[in-house]
């Protein structure tokens, strides 16, 4: 796919032709992104539904809705589907695929056929997951040994599904890195790149380098179950803690794969809806890379009470504090961008602003857990559950929803109902906080994680949390219906409803197959809002 002159298909949107075969065999990044979007969103709703069942069980202290074994299967599926089938692959692959070529002024990614292949590999992974549901695992999404070796449930299929899925992430990461290096339009220098592209690049490094580790770790687990080799069996000279080290070596960078794209989204939305340049562009751009690099060196903070040495604990607590610094810098820069802006609170901006609020809570509570003496009572309690959901929902999902609302006109060529979108946002924001904020207190009180039943003193906070989940569920339902209704019958979208300076908004809504009539020549960065003359810098 060259970046030269366009062909005759320029005036037709990328949705044409509508034949199924043309979609199945498509190499258009916008179609591939859309297919990812539909698939990951479906998994998000399924895993979210499972969480509603879990929260329903937790209304009362006893196991009176489902058996303890069923509850354990539910939380395993909830975690595995959310992590491996939605949040790690999904946000980057859906939004990244759609946006990256458009934002850098290219016609497609560097390897379009490989891109399609990545999506098909992802689908194969999901089929294996469906097979795994016949005798679903009850290990938790973390598959700790020895339990994951000994349990009679089916661990092999689900971990193999994740293994296959990993290749989709690795190849997508490779594709994006080459695309960003090689296909930028003339004049799109590194210091003019949109911040979403900087974050996509950092995320892709993590996808490329970290994912192989979890792939191999899960293969080792499969080998342990089938061949009884003893990697993780102390009776054979192995060590169950080895599994934890391998697993978290991937899974910690994985959480940054989850959240760095969301950081990029916020950095795009806030300047547009403030009509101001982003404050601290270089700091935000470089901080994504700092986070990505440091993220490889903090994994043992998930293992402070696992039986590691005091020295190891000290080193990893220190490094964990370091990773907080570039993250905090982003938050301060986003808020500073609002100063003297012209702020308009449409739904994308509501999601972006509430992201900052919620992610700050998530990030600060991560500091609690990185502090050694404090982590001891809080580890493996609901404090950790609350922290992770504040960063993953309050962070990534709010960023993802914000992105869906922001780029919706460009992607679908239609507008959704803005008033309903605001209502849905409000329910989601309130519901999310009512669900998860009490869980910090549950954790401080000593309520352990992964408990199907619990002592009665914890009931009140669990009840509040469950009621919150109903509000959250309702909000997500309304949002989903609203977005689908917009696609079906919404008003036709203008080319640039929010007056963004970014390249993706300079093409029709939705874009044609090859994106640009002519590849643009870029003369300024994307955040030139309020610039009166070319001499202001």
């Amino acid at each position: 796919m060259s970046n030269g002159a366009a062909t005759e298909t320029m005036n037709v949107s990328f949705y044409e032709p509508k034949s199924i075969l043309s979609w199945v065999l498509t190499t258009d990044h916008k179609r591939i992104g859309l297919m990812y979007l539909i698939t990951i969103s479906t998994f998000f709703l399924i895993a979210g539904g499972i969480a509603m069942l879990m929260r329903y069980e937790l209304l009362t202290p006893e196991s009176d809705f489902v058996s303890p074994h069923t509850y354990n299967v539910l939380f395993t599926l909830h975690g595995s589907i959310m992590v491996f089938f939605f949040i790690v692959p999904g946000v980057a692959a859906s939004l990244g695929n759609f946006l990256i070529p458009l934002m850098i002024g290219a016609r497609d990614v560097a390897f379009p056929k490989l891109n399609l292949g990545s999506y098909w590999i992802y689908l194969v992974g999901t089929i294996i997951l469906l097979a795994a549901l016949l005798q679903p695992a009850d290990t938790g999404w973390t598959f700790y040994t020895p339990y994951s070796v000994k349990t009679g449930t089916d661990v092999i299929l689900i971990t193999f599904g994740v293994f296959v899925l990993g290749f989709s992430s690795i190849l997508t990461g490779l594709n994006f890195i080459v695309t960003i290096h090689k296909l930028r339009a003339p004049g799109m220098t590194w210091d003019r790149l949109p911040l979403f592209i900087w974050s996509a690049y950092a995320t892709s490094i993590l996808q490329l380098l970290a994912t192989p580790v979890v792939g191999i770790t899960l293969l080792l687990l499969i080998a342990e179950r089938t061949l009884d080799i003893g990697f993780f069996d102390p009776a054979k000279g192995g060590d169950p803690i080895l599994f934890q080290n391998f697993f978290w070596f991937y899974s910690h960078p994985a959480v940054y794969i989850m959240v760095i794209p969301a950081f990029g989204i916020i950095s795009e939305i806030i300047p547009v809806f403030s009509r101001k340049p982003i404050f601290g562009y270089k700091a935000i751009a470089y901080s994504s890379f700092a986070i990505a690099i440091i993220s490889f060196f903090v994994w043992m903070h998930h293992m402070f009470v696992s039986g590691i040495s005091q020295t190891a604990a000290a080193i990893f607590s220190f490094l964990t504090m370091l990773v907080a610094i570039p993250t905090a810098i982003k938050v301060f820069n986003w808020v500073a961008t609002l100063y003297k802006g012209s702020i308009s609170l449409e739904s994308p901006m509501l999601y972006a602003l509430s992201f900052i609020f919620l992610f700050t809570i998530g990030g600060l509570t991560g500091v609690y857990l990185g502090t050694l003496a404090v982590d001891v009572p809080l580890h493996d309690t609901y404090f950790v559950v609350a922290h992770m959901h504040y960063v993953m929902i309050g962070g990534t999902v709010f960023g993802f929803f914000g992105a869906l609302h922001f780029w919706y006109p460009k992607w679908f060529g239609k507008m959704f109902n803005e008033a309903v979108a605001k209502l849905a946002w409000f329910l989601i924001f309130v519901g999310f906080n009512v669900t998860f904020f009490p869980q910090f207190f549950l954790g401080v009180e000593g309520m352990p994680r992964r408990y199907a039943s619990y002592p009665p003193q914890f009931q009140t906070l669990h009840e509040i949390s469950t009621y919150g989940s109903w509000i959250l569920g309702l909000g997500i339902f309304i949002m989903t219906v609203n977005l689908i209704a917009g696609v079906i019958g919404g008003k036709k979208a203008p080319q640039n409803p929010y007056n963004s300076l970014s390249l993706e908004w300079q093409v029709p809504s939705p874009p044609p197959h090859e994106n640009f009539h002519e590849i643009p020549t870029v003369t300024d960065w994307t955040y030139g809002y309020g610039k009166k003359s070319k001499t202001e810098a």
């Binding site: 058996s67 009850d138 020895p146 601290g280 039986g307 012209s342 502090t371 009572p377 039943s453 002592p455």
Partner: protein
């Protein structure tokens, strides 16, 4: 936040809570700072018209440095202080009493220096430091007492330890805090912190001191019910008819039971006793051979009590 903390019942709890308090104060400060500016700016700079003039501000190196350096200093303080207290939590005094802990799916077994054993009840003396030497017989578990602020994973094939000095008499929850399978949420115990007099009385009960307290005053059926609830049976056997990890006790007594071997036996007194002492000898069809033996852990009186209790569950 503070009223949600469990009471401080060990020498370590106050230290942990101090660090927690300071991290909380600083976090709340930064959270409020960020939120207030966020909301204030979002409202103060609301768009008035499409022709609003916005200044072309791209950054400020001084502010950037300040908000990099100040948080860094605070984070380093948290790290250092958290580490110092952590080291204290990891290093037991040399004169600590020792208790051996064996964790298995899904119960806690404690063995004291004189050979006494208890299940799901840990007896310690107030104001005396005690060190738990812990191992697991199967998967990873975790010993967690919220009131003491202590937690340590318990591993197979390796000893791990934790220590504390209880500072308040009373009963405190002990939870398993590492997911370990079906009975994980039921793997709970109680820590009894006794005054020195009460502790020596308990210690002097003799090796058979694993007996349920006040066993003499209870009828066999009441004793059996207490054993069922406190010695780990309830983790795997229901009394309402539902199969859990093991067969239900409801309606068990006197009925025919089909074994994995194909044999059919009657669940009489000897069958129940045999199952408690040598569970692997008679696995019920459709169930896994995971029941541990209670030989040496339940007295004959307690087993008789359990049998009487099961008889009452028609």
């Amino acid at each position: 936040m503070l009223s949600w903390l469990p009471e401080e019942a060990s020498n370590l709890a106050g230290k942990v809570d101090n660090v927690l308090l300071v991290v909380t104060v600083v976090s709340v400060f930064f959270f409020l700072l960020i939120s207030v500016f966020l909301v204030y700016y979002a409202l103060k700079y609301r768009r008035r018209s499409d022709d609003d003039h916005t200044p072309y501000i791209t950054g400020n190196i001084v502010i950037e440095v300040i908000w990099t350096v100040v948080p860094s200093i605070l984070l380093m303080i948290f790290f250092a202080w958290g580490y110092i207290e952590f080291v204290h939590m990891k290093n037991p005094p040399k004169d600590a009493t020792e208790v051996n802990v064996t964790a298995r799916q899904w119960m806690w077994e404690f063995e004291y220096y004189d050979g006494k054993k208890t299940i799901n009840e840990l007896y310690v003396q107030k104001d005396r430091p005690v060190r738990m030497i812990m191992q697991s017989e199967d998967v990873i578990h975790s010993f967690f007492v919220p009131a003491f602020r202590v937690k340590q994973d318990v591993l197979p094939g390796r000893y791990t330890q934790l220590w504390f000095t209880p500072t308040k008499a009373g009963d405190f929850d002990l939870f398993c805090a590492e997911y370990c399978g079906t009975g994980h949420s039921q793997m709970r115990a109680v820590v009894h912190v006794l005054s020195p007099e009460a502790f020596s009385r308990w210690m002097n009960k003799g090796k058979g001191g694993a007996e349920v307290a006040e066993a003499a005053e209870l009828s066999p059926r009441e004793r059996g019910k207490k054993v069922y609830q406190e010695k780990g049976c309830s983790a795997c056997h229901s009394i309402d008819g539902s199969p859990v990890v093991g067969p239900t006790f409801k309606g068990l007594y006197g009925h025919k039971v089909e074994l994995e071997s194909g044999e059919t036996v009657t669940a009489d007194e000897n069958y129940i006793r045999h199952s408690v002492l040598e569970p692997q000898a008679q696995i019920v069809k459709g169930y896994q051979p995971v029941m541990p033996s209670f030989k040496g852990k339940l007295s004959d009186k307690e087993i008789t009590g359990v049998i009487e209790y099961i008889k009452s569950l028609k």
